[in-house]
Symmetry: C2
Subunit: 574 residues, 2 copies
């Protein structure tokens, strides 16, 4: 019952042998990797020797976590028996006594991981070098930054399997020189359609850091609710949130520092001028077509209501709100949204039409002024604005050249952004939307499926080409990408299971780049067992990452791969 009756549809073909990947299961795969075939075990007295002067607290805590993961992951190898048969190979194996962690001479004074993770995109160093000698004794991790050291610690944790009492690798010596292919490797979470407690966000940040995802794109507010308490604008959440489902300034500090300590930059989004009906509860004067009906004429999701951007008062209010929010986040990035601005809303808004007539300006000119005012305020704070593609491609708004544009409608839309010489973050719904394919959430639609069917599999995300549709001269505009969870049908109940391990797929796309260290292209066949190791570690560490196959397949890499059936002569053929 689990697949259609394939045996009815024989295909004559050659039987291709399955290539079984190696056992060194890192995720994301490092850029440069050399491994051997010598067994090596972690000494029972293994220690991490931090040789960094005035080591920042978050680095020390990261080392404590690494030691805890090494002790508790208990990950068996992906073979029947989970590696118990390896114990023989470990007889008399050398022992690794310690990992020596140091900064390079160029590094200068050690800064906290947090401060390096939130530095401007171009200015961060995530590079590290990790050497595990086959002779045991001491391994070395060196980097130009504590952020690089943290990435290296994350890789070191993934090198080891457990069998019986032994924590070991069969592939020493190991030499890794690593740095990401793209600076922006993100995950977006919508906390406005449905709310997620701080503990859920922290658990998600942990899982992100294990896959070296470094940007948490927080779509915190929307038309359904406004859960962010903003200093000076506390009435907006007080009246616009789901009752007391509010992130306080203390919660934001907590989330930002938790993320930073894990090498993650929190990019907040206050979506404007659309997706803002919830602001009406506190500021009706700034919202046009509030609750207008039928909602489908005035918004893509109930309820209708958008910022009256043609109004100078609304523009000033919004700029103030944005600046106050930006001050709560250390990131150099800030998203003002800009997606799905609904025009009929303003065509029927008397106040907007009055302003347009009085000033003799068009709606498009007013939208441009609105966006430029918000972005001017952000630049005054030293921040780089991010917008969704719609402002550029649908409304033809002119933005400054440093603006980062998130492509979402389709991967093919990147071309139009590149043509305007703007920087690109890939978030295409046809590859990266985690919510697609789970059915219709709009009511009274008996047969409805999601608007972006089908489900976007990990395989689909993994085969994404960051340079698809882009000329070579435009490739430098790609900063990276992110998988995206809109929460119409998500809550704490399915947060982990809808995100993990799928969202690790793009993490490897944007860290490892087009090819694996041996020069072969990324491919789902060799990726699957490595993704399993990450998934098993996630489960062991308390994240509900789902199985991708029957365990039978997971323990036999390649055995469940797609292959053509072969025709068997039936008696009737004789």
């Amino acid at each position: 019952m689990a697949r259609s009756r394939i045996w009815q549809y024989f295909v004559l073909s050659v039987y291709a042998a399955i290539s079984i990947p190696g056992i060194l299961c890192l995720w994301p795969m490092p850029r440069s990797l050399k491994a051997g075939t010598t067994s090596l075990v972690l000494s029972t007295s293994f220690s991490i020797d931090l040789q960094v002067q005035d080591a920042p607290e978050d680095l020390q805590q990261a080392i404590t976590r690494t030691q805890s993961y090494l002790r508790n992951d208990n990950l068996g190898r992906l073979v029947v028996g989970r590696g118990t048969s390896d114990l023989g190979l470990l007889q008399g194996a050398k022992e690794l006594q310690s990992l020596r962690v140091t900064l390079s001479n160029e590094a200068g004074k050690a800064r906290s991981i947090s401060s390096e993770a939130t530095a401007p995109l171009g200015s961060r160093s995530e590079e590290y070098s990790l050497v595990i000698p086959s002779a045991g004794s001491t391994a070395t991790l060196i980097a130009n930054s504590t952020l690089g050291l943290f990435r290296g610690l994350t890789t070191f944790e993934q090198l080891w399997y457990t069998a019986g009492e032994a924590t070991y690798t069969l592939e020493a010596p190991i030499r890794i020189i690593d740095s990401p292919a793209f600076p922006y490797r993100g995950l977006m979470l919508d906390t406005a359609r449905n709310f997620f407690p701080v503990s859920d966000i922290k658990r998600t940040l942990d899982a992100m850091s294990w896959a070296k995802i470094n940007q948490f794109h927080w779509h915190v507010t929307d038309s359904q609710s406004f859960p962010l308490e903003i200093l000076g604008f506390t009435e907006v959440a007080a009246k616009g949130a789901y009752s007391n489902s509010i992130y306080s300034p203390e919660d934001v500090k907590d989330i930002v520092s938790y993320a930073g300590a894990r090498g993650i930059d929190v990019v907040v989004e206050i979506d404007t001028p659309g997706h803002t009906a919830s602001i009406h509860e506190s500021h009706p004067e700034h919202i046009a077509c509030y609750d207008s009906s039928p909602w489908m004429t005035f918004t893509n999701e109930p309820m209708a209501g958008q910022l009256r951007f043609a109004s100078a008062a609304t523009t000033n209010f919004t700029a103030g709100l944005i600046e106050a929010t930006a001050r709560m986040f250390p990131s150099s990035l800030f998203s003002t949204g800009g997606d799905e601005v609904n025009l009929p809303c303003y065509q029927l808004d008397v106040e907007t039409q009055r302003i347009l007539n009085a000033t003799g300006q068009t709606l498009q000119q007013k939208l441009e002024m609105f966006v430029q005012t918000l972005h001017g305020g952000l630049k005054g704070l030293g921040k780089t604005p991010i917008v969704w593609e719609d402002l550029i491609l649908t409304h033809n708004v002119t933005v400054s050249n440093d603006t980062i544009v998130m492509v979402w409608s389709s991967s093919s839309a990147a071309e139009g952004i590149a043509a305007k010489n703007l920087q690109i973050v890939h978030a295409p719904s046809d590859y990266f939307y985690l919510d697609c394919g789970a059915g219709e959430w709009i009511g009274a639609d008996p047969d409805g499926n999601s608007w972006c069917d089908p489900f976007k599999t990990w395989q689909r995300a993994y085969i994404f080409d960051p340079y698809e549709n882009l000329t070579e001269s435009h490739q430098h505009l790609v900063l990276g990408g992110e998988q995206v969870l809109w929460s119409e049908q998500s809550g704490p109940q399915n947060l982990d299971s809808i995100i993990w391990p799928r969202a690790a797929a793009s993490a490897e796309v944007f860290w490892t780049g087009p090819t694996l260290p041996d020069g072969t292209p990324r491919n789902v066949q060799s990726a699957l067992p490595r993704l399993y190791d990450l998934r098993f570690r996630m489960v062991q560490r308390g994240v509900d990452a789902i199985p991708l196959q029957p365990l039978w397949c997971a323990l036999r890499p390649g055995a469940c791969d797609l292959m053509d059936a072969v025709k068997v002569p039936s008696p009737h053929d004789r």
Copy 2:
């Protein structure tokens, strides 16, 4: 970004008003229901007065659970403010002091819920009558069986909302006379592709009972693993399970009694002769084409290997295994499977071909003998056999008239089963498969989606018509139906979220039948708020049922319903 830009595609239409359903949110809806408009609160000293002589322990425990749910559900009404505005209406409301629980005179001596839940399908009484007077004092629940009383208690729990300190209804008096439209209302779980601990199964049984689902179809074994320890055949699980992921006889007793106490009959399936490769680990002599390659020629899922049913020794072994398993379960039902039998496997099996030549019988004749032997053994134990449709429709096997056939390939296949005058349980993949639409689990398939895309929404399951494609003369053959979870991509991590609240949809289809108590047809619009109340109760009781919409929609029934957009004149039209 959450839906396509609908405003670009205006449709001229009339704006239809939304009908807001009432607040009496029961799931499944009773067959007969009368409600008033009087407020009534549960007395702080509310008690359940069990007037049943020698009340069985599982009934007493059910009453204790009901009292706990009444105290702890804390379910607010689906309105903004969650019903705090109701407190005014409760001023001076009458108090309900107690619920009197009795058996009717026809009932005879009280038997345990378990024994009644596991009685033969036709012989159970789930009927009950529940009266809540508007004058308060005492409500009464009466039934012909403790099973009926349990169903009534489940309904009573759903009548109450909480606001402030008050547990109340606004719709007294309430008079319910209820009994299911169909005797078989099931949920199937596959514990062979991936394993689920006993605690996960128990939590699932609890959630099932809240929706009055009464059949747990346990697809316990398959080719990937054999996790059931069977007395006299302990080697099969010892060698065929995923290491120590085994259900012991004690676990089975525990699950069966936990289910029975919740009005649930556990129907175990040992799928034969296909889906049995895991038996090879202990009995290679009984398995043909074991691990033959390419697997897609010999099985629908890795790995290949099927019972050598043409062999008398294998038939005897299997009959013994089935009978030993059947003795572990009190149910009068037992599934011998029979789906997806792969024929090429036997065409290349030397031993099978030798037997066919020696006996001069065909594979089809041998398959029929095999099935009839297994079913003969079951009937000797007083059990009714269940099979998947394939044996009848694909292999044209003759089975006795009391055999129950599960329809899975498509809802349209029911017609062919009815034509043979066999009883039907609906489990059609095009309506009820919970695993569909989550992507391809077979490896090395970069762009693959699930074979049964798209995702089967709760709406899709809810609009299922049990009599579709059936003539009136065949309708009596329909026993009910079940939603189905194949676990290729499920584990404890997503068990709740993939099942709930979706699997409650068919529970109402098969309990309530085609119409609601007011005679109107079941429809997703009026169902959604009631399904929400069930979902919120599930979450409060520890089951991770997912949100179906943004909370904004959930609290405003009808506000997010599909409606046509209206064309707004743009300046260019003037």
